[in-house]
Symmetry: C2
Subunit: 471 residues, 2 copies
């Protein structure tokens, strides 16, 4: 059952057909942010639901207050996997910068001979989600079955804020819950190395206001005797880090683990160059904790950042004012098991502990924050996926992601699932820009990768009891 | 010659006349900021010049690119004193908040029985400058001479930026230079205690910009590895003061002297209440150096203040940005012999010493700054003035002034003279506001004070050779 020879051969002999189906999907003008394209969004959803029904899925177009979801289920012997993609695309303007009609896709050949699929959605996310659908087709056409039990969710509002996503996940949690999630909407490490994202940093963020005098004061009359809230805020924010770049908040590092030897080895193999990474933006000294390198700092270490600060007179010229208050927007990127609420509370304590008796602080936290999301490098689905990518590409990079991806957090918090992110896109794919493209190689080897991943996952024993039954 | 019995008696017997002359000056609508009142400004200058000519002064209306100056000289046996005042006034709007026509002055009686002179300029500065002119008249009318050689300068642009003052002082320095200067444009300590200002703090100020990456960065992609210039600026500004409130810049305290025992004793006698002073603006902890009280902090200690700060995202909501740069406006109030250029240079060094190798700082100093101005408490003119005030009021407060008064700095830097500031105004005089008033007691005892001061100064030996000859 999990011998992937036949489905891989199917991909090879049906490349033109897979491209035809991708083009058909790309011709649908499913721009989610512009209400004028709502019928096209529905059309894309229907196209995918019909196609999945044809492949034996129990598929439907599920309405939301915004654009509809596509939900599909297929039974199978292996673990229950949940695949997420999105059928909506970014607007195409400025149209005059496109080499061709963005909704009339075609294959072009680059100067170096590489062939690319050009058109809106080629990469983000129609091309990437189709690598998974075509892999399912290859298994079905050649074996009559899928190696895993599969639930698919295609969203139609990813490019316009995912407004309906969380309510939909909550309302349908029981139906959608599986053993773990897979997403194909991210980058490769480089053109020869698919990326396997194992961690996304979480976030705690908010605003602090320091109040001192009840009105702005003249620094001649009061300077020296009256507390300057800007100076106080600067001192407090400065003391948030020590000279070695460590964050000084109480308990900040609770739940932060060192990078495992396995992951470290994988990173070392990437040949990441701190100097090149920072040099691109005009910097050269990694700013994080002493003893860590830039890659670790962005993928595996938590941060404390001041994202905005303001207070006093900030216009032209000068005003010798001691303001009544000063403000900052502060955020913390979180890793491991750091608790966003505890980190924010530690920040509030750090501030309050440093206030003179006649000053006060006001905080506006941005809600509950989001914990980091990570897949341990030894988790069975990750190991299986990694082995499959190794088989197809000869290698796969275990990469971190310094930022969050909202849907992964939603899947984690609402559906209680880990997500393995597999990506075949490249940084120069022009997603969100004119002349979006997807390398034909990414599409081709992406489909082959999913054939292998489905096979490898099918050999896993289900990691845990699946509570949610397929519809 | 310096027995003031007769001139004091003259004041007593001519009170109504002195009021008539004050009212005549107050009826002139010499609002300097509004060009429509330029003829009135000229009229006020002519009135004063004519009056001084009548008193035997060699007086003239001296044109400037703006409103004219009144310059007058009178010979005398004692030291050569320079008296500054201004004949222009603030605008009167909102007119509907005045109890009477602001240019139709009158005596009103307050609920507590005290009589007040009401009208624009009653206190600032027509009433105050007239206390000096009437004292000169009293000496002339009763003795036929003045106890000192006197040069008077009345400005007509004090309320509109003193644009012509410095060029005029420079162009006429030789004519205007005297042994020391006297000004009557400040406050009393309280209703029973005239103020004798012995120090004005100086200033060094400017702007600093910290540059990090060459563009704004996403804190997910770069956070941790890329230097955050706001955090860096906060740390640098925070480290500008230690935990005890001392400024940490190299050599910052060079030229700062402790308060002398004489001055300290005088201050202790004032009964200044730190809690009340700070409580008025909602504070209660003196913010300056440990071991100093609020009065010393505002009058005799230098400061380092951040008057404005800005960087990153400061709008509604949140943006996880690491900005390319961060900015602050910084100022230092100076005392004693602190050198504004050296203080600013020490600030620049403090910043540069704390920059990582890939960041830079840009500075915009606000010109050369101004040194502090102070009159030692044992200087002969101050001692003579203080003794005269003691004789009239039973006491006099040696007070500091936390801010600068531009004309005093101009007199110091252009005419190389110390200034003794004597004031009879009260904080509730509504200067610059509707219903401006001057206590009749201030006017009466102010004239008597100047009679005594002129007498006391006349007994001084000229402190130094007067280089400038009267015209």
């Amino acid at each position: 059952m999990t011998d992937s020879t036949a489905p891989l051969a199917y991909i090879e002999s049906h490349l033109d057909d897979t491209l035809d189906r991708l083009f058909a999907l790309m011709r649908v003008q499913s721009v989610s942010t512009d209400p004028a394209y709502a019928p096209e969004c529905l059309k894309a959803a229907q196209l995918l639901a019909n196609e999945l029904t044809g492949l034996g899925f129990d598929a439907r177009v599920a309405p939301t207050p915004g654009h509809p979801m596509v939900v599909a289920h297929h039974d199978g012997p292996g673990p229950h996997i949940f695949f997420y993609g999105h059928y909506d695309v970014q607007p195409v303007d400025p149209l005059n910068l496109w080499r061709r009609d963005p909704f009339d896709p075609a294959i072009e050949t680059k100067a170096d001979g590489a062939r690319i699929i050009v058109g809106r959605g080629a990469s983000d996310d129609k091309g990437q989600l189709r690598t998974f659908v075509e892999a399912c087709r290859a298994w079905k056409e050649t074996t009559g079955a899928l190696p895993c039990k599969v639930t698919i969710l295609f969203e139609g509002e990813e490019e316009s804020g995912s407004v309906s996503l969380d309510p939909f996940l909550r309302a349908n949690a029981e139906e959608l819950k599986a053993d773990f999630a897979l997403i194909c909407d991210t980058l490769m490490w480089d053109a020869d190395t698919p990326g396997l994202t194992i961690g996304l940093r979480g976030m705690a963020a908010g605003e602090v206001t320091i109040h001192a005098a009840r009105r702005d004061l003249h620094s001649g009359l009061y300077g020296g005797a009256a507390r300057n809230p800007i100076q106080l805020l600067a001192t407090i924010l400065g003391e948030m880090k020590d000279a070695d770049g460590h964050v000084t908040l109480d308990g900040f590092y609770d739940g932060v683990d060192p990078v495992s030897a396995d992951v470290r080895k994988s990173w070392d193999a990437l040949g990441f160059d701190d100097g090149e990474f920072l040099g691109d933006v005009g910097l050269r000294v990694p700013a994080g904790e002493k003893g860590t390198d830039a890659l670790e700092q962005i993928w595996a270490r938590p941060t404390a950042e001041v994202n905005g600060i303001w207070g006093g007179y900030t216009g032209e010229g000068f005003k010798t004012v001691i303001p009544a208050e000063a403000h900052a927007k502060v955020s913390f990127r979180l890793v491991g098991r750091q608790d966003p609420d505890k980190v924010w509370a530690a920040f509030e304590k750090h501030v309050r502990d440093r206030l003179p008796a006649d000053c006060s602080a006001e905080f506006a936290s941005r809600g509950p924050g989001s914990p980091a999301v990570s897949v341990p490098s030894d988790s069975p689905p990750l190991a299986a996926t990694r082995a499959a990518l190794d088989a197809e590409w000869g290698k796969a990079a275990l990469i971190g992601c310094g930022g969050g991806i909202p849907v992964v957090t939603s899947i984690r918090t609402i559906l209680d699932m880990d997500t393995v992110l597999v990506g075949f896109a490249l940084p120069d794919d022009n997603i969100h820009s004119p002349n979006e493209k997807y390398e034909l190689k990414s599409f081709h080897k992406g489909m082959r990768s999913w054939v292998r991943i489905l096979g490898a996952l099918g050999e896993m024993k289900a990691a845990k009891t699946v509570q949610a039954a397929a519809a």
